[in-house]
Assembly symmetry: C2
Homo-oligomer: 361 residues x 2
C-alpha cells in the first residue's frame, strides 16, 4: 500500500431511476440494494481499503449527504469528507480533489471513482487499480478504466481504444469517448471490438490532473489555482463555498479525458455495472427458477416470471400473474411497472412531484 | 320509534377475503372500505339509529373485538355489547339475543343484521324494516329480507319465494333457502324470478324466535332455556361462558328460517351487497374513465384498466400496465393479484401463515 496513493470516492449524485427506493434525500449509493447489509457506498469503501492507506481515503459528496456519509462510514475523520456546496458534476469535483491532495503530498497519485456502481470481480478490480497506479506514477498520464462491452447498452458511455501501449498490453490510448449512443450506434460499437464501457474510474498523479485542467479547461482551472494553504481546514470550506457555485458543471470525461493527448484506458473485466436501472439490478441478482428476484423481503409469487420484487422492512409481498414487472415498495411509495417501462421512471417522478409535491420523491 | 323494537348488529365474523386489509384481528366490518371516514360497522350503526331507540341497540361480537367495538362506537354502554366467548355462527347468536331481549321486554321484536354489508338505498332499507317490524309484530312470524337477484352470484345464499301474503304484496312465504349454488343453478335461480338474494337480515318477536328454536333446534334451544335473570350482568357472562362453547355452530337460516312454517321473506331493493370480494367492492365504488377504483390513496395509474387500488395511510401508489388487478397495500403486507383470482385469497392467506406465521394475516 503506497503512501502517496489516494482514493476519492464520489458520492454526491442524486438519481431517481430507482424510485421509490432511491430518493432525492437518499440516492442509490446510500442504499443496501442487494440485501447484504451493506450499502453501495459501504461496499465501495471496503473495496478500496486494500489499495490505499486509511488516511488517504477521501469521500466527496454533496453537503446534503454529510450526515448520511458519517452514519454509513463511522469513524471517518471530518477532514476526509469533502462537501460540495452545489452540484457541478464530476470535473470540478476531480479538480478540487487533485488540489486538495497535491497540497498534502506533491508526489501523490489518486483514483477517483463513483460510489454507486457494482463490481463483482473484486480481485480483477484490485489488480487493475494496482496496474493503473503503477502506470500513472511512471509517467505523466491520465488513465480511465474500461470494461469489455458485452451488449449494446444505450445508457452507458463508451471509450474507443486507440494504439496499444508497450508498457502493458491491456492499456491503449483513448481515441474518443462517446456518451449514450443510439441503439444502432451501440450495436456498431460492440461489434467493432474497439469500444469499452466507461466505468467512470480515473487515475492520475494529482499534478498531472491539474495540468490537464490547466491546458484543456483553463477557465475552470484558474478558479482552483491558489496557494496550497487554501486547501486546508476552514479556509478550504470558505474558498470552495465561494468558487464552487461559479464553476461550470461538466463531467470529467469531457473536461479532460476526451481531449488530453496523454489519456489512456486500461481494459479490465471487473464484473462491472453502473446499476443505473432496475433491469441492471435484475440481471446482476440471484434469481429463482422462474427468473424472479426478490430483494430484502418476504414474498410469495404465484405465476410470476422475470420480476424484481423489493420491499422495505418486514413486509410480506404477494403477487400473482406478473411477467417482467418491477414491484418496489417503501414506507411512502409503491411502484408497480413493467421492467421495460423503467425509462419512464424519471417522468413518473416528475408527475408525482407535480401532483403530490416533493415529499414522495 | 317504537320502544319495544330492538336491533342486534352481528359483527363477530373474521373473514380473510379482503386480505391484507381484513385480518383475523381486524375483519372487514371494522374497516373504512370506501374512504368515507366510517367503517362498515359505524355505517351500520348509523343506519339503524333511526329505527330503534339508542338503548335498544345491541352489538353482538366475538370477545376478541370488544375493544375495537368500544373504540368505533364510543359512548356505547357495556351492557349493550354481547361478547361471544367462541365462534358459533349466527344461530346461537340470534337465540342468545332473543333471550337477552325477552328478559328485558316480553313484547319485544328485533331485527338481527350483519355489520359488514353495504346498503346503498338507505330509505328503502328504513321502509323495509318498518314494514317488517309491523308484519312480525302483528302475528307470530319470522321474516327475512330478500333482495332482487340481479346476477347469478355463486357466493350468495338464495331465498325461494312461495305463496304471496295478503298483508303486503312484497311479502311471501319462504319456500326454501339455497346456499351458494353452482353457476348453472344460480343461472336458473335468477331466470326463474322466484329467488331472492338472502340479505342475512332477520326480524321477529323475541318470543317467536325462541319458539322457533324450541321447535326446530331443541338441543340448542334447551341450553338457553333458563330463568330471565340469567340474561343480566355478571350472571349472563358466566352463563354464556359456560354454555356457548358447548353449542353447535349453525347459521340461523338453516336452524330456523329454512324449516319454520311461519317464515316469510320481504322483497326489497336495498342496493345491497355482502361486499364479500374485491370484485364486489370494485363494482360498488365510483370508477374513473378507465374503470379504475382507488381507495384511500394517492395514486397515479398509467395504462391501467378496471383495477382496484387500495392503500393505507399517506402512501403514493404508482402502477403501470395493469388490467383487472387488485393492488392492496397495508403497513405489513402488499397484495397484487388479478381480480378474478380473488377466490384464491383464502389459499394465499394459508400459504402466508404456513411460511411466515400468523403476524401477517
Amino acid at each position: 500500500m503506497k503512501r502517496q496513493r489516494y482514493c476519492v470516492i464520489m458520492c454526491g449524485g442524486a438519481g431517481t431511476r430507482f424510485w421509490p427506493f432511491s430518493r432525492e434525500a437518499r440516492p442509490k449509493q446510500f442504499i443496501d440494494f442487494f440485501g447484504t447489509g451493506q450499502t453501495l457506498l459501504q461496499m465501495t469503501v471496503e473495496r478500496v481499503r486494500r489499495l490505499v492507506p486509511e488516511e488517504n481515503l477521501i469521500i466527496l459528496t454533496n453537503e446534503q449527504y454529510a450526515d448520511t456519509v458519517r452514519e454509513q462510514i463511522p469513524g471517518i475523520s471530518p477532514e476526509h469528507i469533502l462537501l460540495e456546496p452545489t452540484r457541478r458534476d464530476t470535473a470540478p469535483a476531480v479538480l478540487w480533489a487533485a488540489h486538495h491532495i497535491a497540497s498534502r503530498n506533491a508526489d501523490a497519485s489518486f483514483v477517483a471513482l463513483p460510489a454507486d456502481h457494482v463490481i463483482l470481480k473484486e480481485s480483477a478490480f484490485h489488480d487493475a487499480l494496482r496496474t493503473g497506479f503503477e502506470f500513472v506514477e511512471e509517467g505523466d498520464s491520465l488513465l480511465a478504466l474500461g470494461v469489455p462491452a458485452k451488449m449494446p447498452n444505450t445508457s452507458y458511455s463508451y471509450i474507443q481504444k486507440g494504439d496499444d501501449v508497450e508498457w502493458n498490453c491491456h492499456i491503449s490510448r483513448i481515441k474518443t469517448i462517446a456518451e449514450k449512443p443510439g441503439k444502432g450506434m451501440a450495436d456498431i460499437f460492440v461489434k467493432s471490438g474497439e469500444f469499452l464501457w466507461n466505468a467512470g474510474i480515473y487515475l492520475g498523479k494529482a499534478t498531472t490532473v491539474i495540468n490537464a485542467f490547466n491546458r484543456d479547461v483553463p477557465d475552470m482551472a484558474s478558479r482552483f489555482d491558489v496557494e496550497p494553504d487554501y486547501y486546508h481546514g476552514e479556509k478550504e470550506n470558505d474558498f470552495i463555498a465561494d468558487i464552487y457555485p461559479k464553476t461550470s458543471s461538466l463531467p470529467v470525461e469531457y473536461a479532460i479525458m476526451d481531449r488530453a493527448n496523454n489519456a489512456f484506458v486500461l481494459e479490465a473485466d471487473l464484473g462491472w455495472s453502473d446499476l443505473s436501472t432496475w433491469n441492471a439490478l435484475h440481471s446482476l441478482s440471484p434469481k429463482n427458477k422462474d427468473g424472479n428476484v426478490t430483494q430484502n423481503c418476504r414474498s410469495i409469487l404465484y405465476d410470476c416470471k422475470d420480476c424484481i420484487v423489493a420491499a422495505e422492512g418486514e413486509k410480506v409481498v404477494v403477487a400473482a400473474g406478473l411477467k417482467d414487472y418491477i414491484v418496489a415498495d417503501t414506507d411512502t411509495a409503491l411502484l408497480i411497472c413493467p421492467i421495460d417501462a423503467e425509462q419512464r421512471i424519471r417522468n413518473i417522478v416528475n408527475d408525482i412531484r407535480e401532483r403530490y409535491g416533493n415529499n414522495f420523491t
